[in-house]
Symmetry: C2
Subunit: 85 residues, 2 copies
Amino acid sequence: MFKATVIVKRRPTILDPQGKAVEQGARLLGFNNVRNTRIGKYIEFFVDTNNRADAEKEVNEYCTKLLANPVIEDFEYNLEEVSDD
Amino acid sequence: MFKATVIVKRRPTILDPQGKAVEQGARLLGFNNVRNTRIGKYIEFFVDTNNRADAEKEVNEYCTKLLANPVIEDFEYNLEEVSDD
């Protein structure tokens, strides 16, 4: 079994209105040192296989087809072997 | 200047309907080994100060007051010093 953690972020050239809105809120609350907030997704899940190559293939496809929008987002992932329970 | 990366996740005991929905999609697409998908947020921003203690305080408050809902979510962050540009 593998535990996968995935980070999906908008490409640097793509505007992030959500981050911008949150940062405006930050200004209103008096956080004056915060700059360039960008908000992405953090996803974790388990892959039920003991073969790392299979797990990587599945994670890659899962990211490309469902978790990230490949047109505007990039993803990176980490796979860590965990004991089955 | 510091670069902060924050991960916000729902507490393990809190249901994650978004993760559940995505995982149902995964089943329909034929990903049969994916288990227990949970979706959180990944946030990155810069803190414009050269004092680590100040930066930590600001990040902590920003997380507690805006980025995370402390009732149902936990957050963790990482601060990395970067050169001003």
